[in-house]
Each structure stands twice: as C-alpha cells, then as structure tokens.
C-alpha cells in the first residue's frame, strides 16, 4: 500500500451513470490483486472531506482501471474528471479474492450485480491465468445496467447476463441465473460482489450446493487503512462474532465467516 498523489487518468469512458477510467500509476498497479481497492481523493477542498473507496476493476497494459457508478456527491465529482487529470490515490488496499492454485481446471462462478461487477473482471482474468475456468454471471436492473458485457466477451471470458426486467438475457435476479448454473453444472467455487441482498442470496445458494464461496463486502469508509474502525461488518471466526474492519481484513471474506444482517 502506498500513496500516489499524481496518478494520471489516461482514458475515460462514459456510459450513462457509469464511468471507466484507466489510470497510470505503475507501482500501485504492479502490486494490485483482484478484490483490492483504492481510496481516491475526489476533491482538494475540505468538502466532500473523505476519500472514496473504489474497487480495482482491471490491470491492463500496466494501467489500473476503475469502473464505478455515480451514486452520490463523491462519485459525481470523480465522474467529472477527464483524461489528463491527476488523481490522488492510496492503494492497493485490503485483502483480495483467493486465487487458489487448486482451482486449476475447475469451474468458478463469478457473480457480479450492478456496479459490483467491477472487481469481477480482474478476478476472472486472474482466475484464467492460473488455469481455472471462470464463468461470469452479470446482473443489472435493465440492459443499460450491464455496460461491461461486451468487454467480457472481447476478453474471451464466458459471460451470462440477467436483467430484472428481462430487457437482456435471463429475466430475473442474477442469483436466479446462478441457481440455474449451479444446477446444470456444479462449480468448484463461487465468488460474488454486489448488493447485500444479492450476496446473501448467493451465499445461501453456495451453502445448499455445498461449495466454498467468497464475497466482497461494501461499506462507507473513513480512511481505508484500518485507522478509523468505521467500516465494520459482522464476522464470525472460531465461534466468536465481532465487528471486523473490512478495509483491513476484507473487503473479501469467505462465506463461512460472514454474518449477514437481518432484513428490516
């Protein structure tokens, strides 16, 4: 982990609410692993005050890529940046997905919902590097919410899509698609990133199929480096439950450790 106050935005792609930036930051890029994230300063002014946690989407030709959705003031300011602008970033932070050599030759379902697809691209590519067989399941509300579909296809990664309204691919939630895939061809592992409700449903699927799984959790973060204790989630280890900082010990956790919140 390191700070790069002069990471240069090389290219910017805009698709509705979504942005894809490629960033020149050779040292951070060199250390990055799928599932890790950056803390990005969006403003040099004190408002908005905090950096924003943004997951690492890809490493292509030595550049890091981020893919994010405008969801509030911070990401709105970030979305306004252009090629040639510099970003002040800290990274790579956190612990990423397990890239276990034992997955070689094995099918691994990589499930991404909405903007949660971001780290799944990096993950699927690295899984393929170690000889695993990633299958990407990509869900969005409508066809407009799955803007990365073509990118997966161009990379030669098998990708199946779902939309809540059926405007593209499987009609329904991406977990419905995952259930179908698990039934038709049992994978050795499941990875997921997306809204809590989606991941909780995916965790249930993995549990009933008896396959190991990992989930990338999301939270507001104060610092991203383990200093503020603001980003905790409920984690169970050796029978003991507690609040664990996801910036430091996550954001990726195995299914067996996550205590999902009850629905309101």
């Amino acid at each position: 982990m390191m700070k790069d106050p002069t990471a240069r935005i090389a290219t910017v792609e805009r698709r509705g609410d979504y942005r894809l930036f490629s960033i020149e930051t050779p040292e951070v890029a060199g250390r990055a692993r799928p599932g890790q994230f950056l803390m990005i300063k969006v403003s040099s002014q004190p408002d908005p005050l905090l950096r924003r946690p943004i997951s690492i989407h890809a490493r292509e030709n030595g550049r890091l890529e981020i893919f994010f959705q405008v969801t509030g003031r911070g990401t709105e300011i970030l979305a306004g940046k252009d090629a040639g602008d510099t970003l002040d970033i800290i990274g790579p932070l956190g612990k990423g997905f397990s890239l276990d050599e034992r997955l070689k030759g094995m099918r691994a379902l990589c499930v991404g919902g909405g903007r949660g697809i971001a780290p799944i691209y990096f993950l699927a590519k690295e899984l393929r590097e170690i000889g695993a067989l990633p299958v990407v399941l990509y869900g969005g509300k409508t066809a407009a919410d799955i803007p990365l579909r073509a990118k997966f296809e161009e990379a030669g990664l098998p990708v199946l899509c779902s939309t809540d309204d059926g405007s593209y691919g499987f009609k329904g939630f991406v977990t419905g698609l995952a259930a179908r895939e698990i039934t038709s061809h049992l994978p050795a592992f499941l990875f997921a990133c997306g809204p809590d409700a989606m991941m909780k449903a995916a965790a249930r699927l993995a549990q009933s199929a008896g396959i190991p799984a990992e989930f990338s959790l999301e939270s507001l973060m104060g610092c991203g480096i383990g200093a503020c204790w603001g980003c905790v989630k409920r984690i169970r280890r050796e029978g003991q439950e507690g609040w664990v900082k996801i910036c430091e010990e996550g954001p990726v956790f195995p299914r067996s450790e996550i205590v999902w919140p009850e629905e309101d």
Partner: protein, 304 residues
C-alpha cells in the same frame, strides 16, 4: 534551522504536532505512509481494560467539511496492547501517549495501574469525553465535579503525567478545565468531538445506528479554537489544541491562541501523512517569518 521543539514541562516534544487518539490506530497502521519518528508524538486509540466490541454500523456519516462518528471505542484492551502493540512501538524515537478509557472510575484506575510500569509510554491522555459510549452522549467531562474526582483518582495511581481530554459539549469548558487542573491534571487537551446527528429524510431514520455521534473535521475548527483560547486563558497547565487541524496554518492558529501543542485528528483519515505535513508547514512558516523557535508563537495572539 527553526527549533520546533516545545516543552510541556513534564515532556519535551520534538515538535508541537501529535496525532490524535482514535484517528491514528495504534500508530503502526501509519508506518507505511510516514516516518513516525518525525512527529512530536502520537496518541494511540483509547484503551479500556478489556477488549471492547464498539457500536453496530453504520458508524460514520460524512457532513459538510466534517465527519460524524459513533465507533464506540472498539479496541483490543490493555493485555493485547501490552503484548502485541507496545513492543513494536517502544523503540521509536517519539512520544507515545496512551489514551485511557473506563466505564467506571475503577476501570480508569485499573487501566492506569496495568500500564504504569510498562516501558515506552510517555504519558496518559485521560479520555473522559467520548460521546459514543454512554446513553445520550453523556461522559464524565460534562460536569466539573465528576471531572475533578476522576482526575484526582487517576492522579493518585499514575506514575506518568496525565493529560485530560475535554468535551466541547458543555456550557463553560474553562470551568471544566479548571476543575481538571485543580485535581492535578498535568495538561489539558481539547476538544473531543461535538455531539451531533444526521437523518436520512427518505427513510426517516438516523444515519448512525447509535443515533448520535461525534462531529470532527474542518467544520469544528473555529469553535474548537475559541474553546482552546478560553481554556488557555484560564489554566496554567499546558493546553493541547484539537479540532479540525489539517494544515500548518490551522496549527499556528491554535498555538497563537495559547496551545503549547496540537493534535491532528480527522485529517489523518484523508491523508495518512497529514500530521507530518502540518509539521513541515509550521517549519516553513517560521522560516518565512524569521521565527527561530516555535515556542515564541505560543499565546502570542494580539487583541486590540
């Protein structure tokens, strides 16, 4: 070469900048981002006697130029601190200060008793002002009598100097400071966070699970500065200024108002090397203005 050192009487700091408790982890988290030995010192996260679970999330809300937190002093307790953290800190050439917490007067005393004999701790900062661990934001520092009794009890036990950290959530903070001084506090640090809240208008729910939290960051700096000025005008013991400091200029305002040192807090979240930047900017200011010793600036506010 500017002399940045400041003398608190009981402790000489190589410069007036400390990293504030609750914003600097146990110090080690920041080692990748700055040389800890370049700081005047740092104050580790508040310690209760045992490990403490903290509050349920959401624990943070960002507000204009500010941050409301309701962490609830989650922490590892004195045993784990002594076994796992302190051995890594004790060789450092900087002042390590431990922030001491307690549910009761007895617990504060037990924490101090446990840590008293350990090598590598320069002083204790008595945390009597966290708004997130008792019902409705209550804390001992809201009352001069409670403050007096608690400081007195800890002073009787402690072999190290006691810095008492005050709450701004009072009518007259100078009165609380005077009570702490009378009870024997070696220094006063202020301010802890301002009791605050935020509401999600869509769900009509508080944005923090704890409902209330403590506001920090640049938003509170002017009020903190006023309080530091009032306290420094009232007490004779050294005052350490805290509240929204994120630049050398911010720190200099507090020194002019009478603080002998400052703590950098929320800025550490934004820039892990913020405290060091404050040190550097103080030095640059002194050089530009031909000030040879930073101590020359303390309390030199000119009014009228």
């Amino acid at each position: 070469m500017v002399d940045l050192s400041v003398d608190l009487g009981f402790l000489k700091l190589k410069n007036p900048v400390l990293a504030a408790s609750g914003t600097f982890g146990y110090g080690l988290e920041f080692a990748p981002y700055l040389n800890l030995e370049k700081l005047g010192g740092f104050i580790v996260k508040g310690l209760y006697y045992g490990p403490r679970e903290g509050n349920p999330p959401p624990r943070l809300v960002e507000t204009p130029s500010g941050l409301i937190n309701a962490i609830g002093l989650q922490g590892i307790g004195v045993d784990a601190f002594a076994a796992k953290v302190l051995p890594k800190l004790k060789g450092l050439d900087t002042s390590v200060i431990v922030n001491v917490c307690g549910e009761t007067e007895e617990e504060y005393v037990r924490v101090v008793e446990f840590l008293n004999g350990l090598e590598g701790i320069a002083a204790f900062e008595l945390n009597i002002s966290c708004p997130n661990v008792r019902q409705g934001g209550a804390c001992p520092a809201l009352d001069p009598g409670t403050t007096f009794r608690l400081v007195k009890a800890v002073k009787r036990t402690s072999r190290l100097p006691i810095i008492t950290k005050l709450s701004p959530n009072v009518t007259s903070i100078a009165e609380i400071a005077a009570a702490a001084e009378e009870a024997g506090a070696d220094a006063i640090s202020l301010v802890n966070t301002f009791l605050a809240m935020a509401i999600d208008v869509g769900t009509r729910r508080p944005k923090l699970a704890n409902v209330f939290g403590g506001l920090s960051g640049p938003a509170i700096k002017p009020i903190a500065l006023r309080m530091v000025y009032q306290v420094a005008s009232r007490v004779k013991v050294p005052v350490i200024g805290i509240g929204g400091i994120s630049s050398g200029a911010d720190a200099l305002e507090f020194l002019l108002a009478g603080a002998r040192a400052v703590e950098v807090g929320t800025a550490n979240f934004v820039d892990p090397d913020a405290s060091l930047r404050v040190v550097r900017e103080i030095g640059e200011f002194c050089e530009r203005h031909g000030i040879q010793r930073v101590e020359e600036l303390i309390g030199k506010l000119e009014i009228g």
